[in-house]
Each structure stands twice: as structure tokens, then as C-alpha cells.
């Protein structure tokens, strides 16, 4: 790795590697040193974390689907064709 300190422009490319724990130790140290001394990059870093959190909220949105009943019917059809030995003993006969 190069000798010089990280520039802001370099740091913004490393945020995900940093968060994923994928930076080699020297880079990791430079990243943290830069971040602790640079307001602008600190804000950038926080914005990325905000972004990740806000993207994660999409998982809460519910996509309507009326497919369940139909699928349970298909499940029952499928079940009828199960080989005998797969069915629980003592229940079916």
C-alpha cells in the first residue's frame, strides 16, 4: 500500500470495505485516523450509514399478495402424490 495518508477522495471509495471489515490493517488505521480528523468525511460516512438504514426500511413495506389460498390448494394436490413412505405413520391409515 502507498505511504501517504488517505485523501477524502480515496476515503469515500473505502466505506463499504471498511464496514465489511475487508480493509487490511494499515488501511483500516488510516481510514479511522482520517475519519476522526475530518468533519466532511465524517458526514459522508454518516450519510452512507443513514442510506443503508433507510434502504433497510424497504423490507418493512408489505407487497400485497392474494396467492396464499391458491398455493395451499396446490400444496394439497402435491401432497396427494407423495410416496406412501413419506407420510407420517399411523396417521393416514
Amino acid at each position: 500500500m502507498d505511504e501517504h495518508d488517505l485523501t477524502c477522495q480515496e476515503l469515500v471509495e473505502l466505506v463499504t470495505d471498511y464496514l465489511e471489515g475487508a480493509l487490511p490493517e494499515t488501511q483500516f488505521k488510516r481510514f479511522e485516523e482520517h475519519l476522526s480528523g475530518c468533519h466532511d468525511c465524517h458526514h459522508y460516512f454518516d450519510q452512507m450509514r443513514f442510506t443503508i438504514r433507510l434502504v433497510g426500511r424497504l423490507s418493512e413495506s408489505h407487497l400485497s399478495s392474494g396467492a396464499k389460498d391458491e398455493l395451499l390448494d396446490l400444496f394439497r394436490d402435491w401432497k396427494k402424490e407423495l410416496p406412501e413412505q413419506e407420510k407420517p405413520e399411523n396417521l393416514e391409515e
Binding site: 463499504t16 452512507m48 434502504v55 407487497l63 398455493l71
Partner: protein, 211 residues
Amino acid sequence: MLTIEDADIIQGLRRGDESVFASLFDGYQNSLLRLALMYAADQRLAEEIVQETWLAVLKGIHRFEGRSALKTWIYSILINRAKTVAQHEGRYNNLTLSLDEQPESNEPSVPVDRFHPDDDHPYPHHWLNGPSDWGDLPEDKLLSDETQKVILAAIDGLSPNQREVITLRDIEMLSSEEACNILGISESNQRVLLHRARAKVRQALEGYLER
């Protein structure tokens, strides 16, 4: 490799236990639909892909060997189907690009004009106009439906590979290992794609939030 929960579910399905299937459906349906919508042109097609996925799960459950987690297996089935369908519809051409080429790897996370150009500055490559503190923004705005829409539109505008990775990692919260297995890409490729995707969504958010 299989968790106890997974093993129970698999056994339940194999003996045709409807309640096991119903609860599996409840746990996965929303995620499967969201994943299918990454590839499908509309909700109806996405629902079809999900339906086919469930049937493939039932068909394959006796042969499933548990070399991957149940979730990884189900997601893989869905994504393979969805890609096939989308390819038929011509919506998925970009993905045939080899991932090794990584056409996006030189794309900067932040436009170059946001930084001091080389050398002629005591702090070369330092921010010209730095990012603002989103912690100062009203919570209402950050969490609004409008913000969600901006994010959705940004994700929609990503390359298919970037969209897949950010959806699996940051929406479905899979580990990088799981995402790499499902997509068949290396960890380092995955990180590049994830970073590009996040950087673009951040940029879209910045444009909207600081307007």
C-alpha cells in the same frame, strides 16, 4: 450446515404438513415477491415467478441435500427463474456482461468535481463543498414515503448486478457469504457492487433531502 429450524421445516414439508408450508409461505412470500420484482416487468409476472418458485420448492424438497441454508436454496430457485423469465422478456441483457469486466469499477462514488483537484491546494483531493449532517434533518422527512420513493427509484436505476446485491444485502439482510452463493460472484466483486449501489442511492438521497 442446516439449522435445526431448517431441518424441521424440511421434514414437515416432506411429510406433507400443511401448517409447516403455510408458515413458510408467511415468512418468505413478501421477500420472494420483492426479489421477483427486481426482474419482472410488473406485479402479475412477479407473482407468477413466486408461484412457480413455491412449486419448484415442493418438487425439489425430497432431493434437497441441505448443502446450503434453506433460505439460500429458495432464493436461488427464485432468482434463477426470474432471470430466465426476464431474459425472455428482454429485460435482463446487462447481466450477460461478464462480472470480471466490472465496467463500473472506475466510476467514482462521489463526482470528482466535489473535490479539490490535484496538487494546487494545501489539501489536495479534499472536499470542496462537504456533505451536510443528515442528523440535523427532521426525522419526518428522512422517514417519509417520499424518501422511500426516492430510494426505490434510485435502486431501480442501478445496474442489474448492483440492484441484486443491494437488495439481498441491505433489504433482505443476507450475509455477504449468502449473497455471493446465490449470485455466484466473489466477495470482492460483491463489495464493489454493493458500494457502487449504496453510493448511488446516497447521491439520490442527497439530491432529494438537501433540495
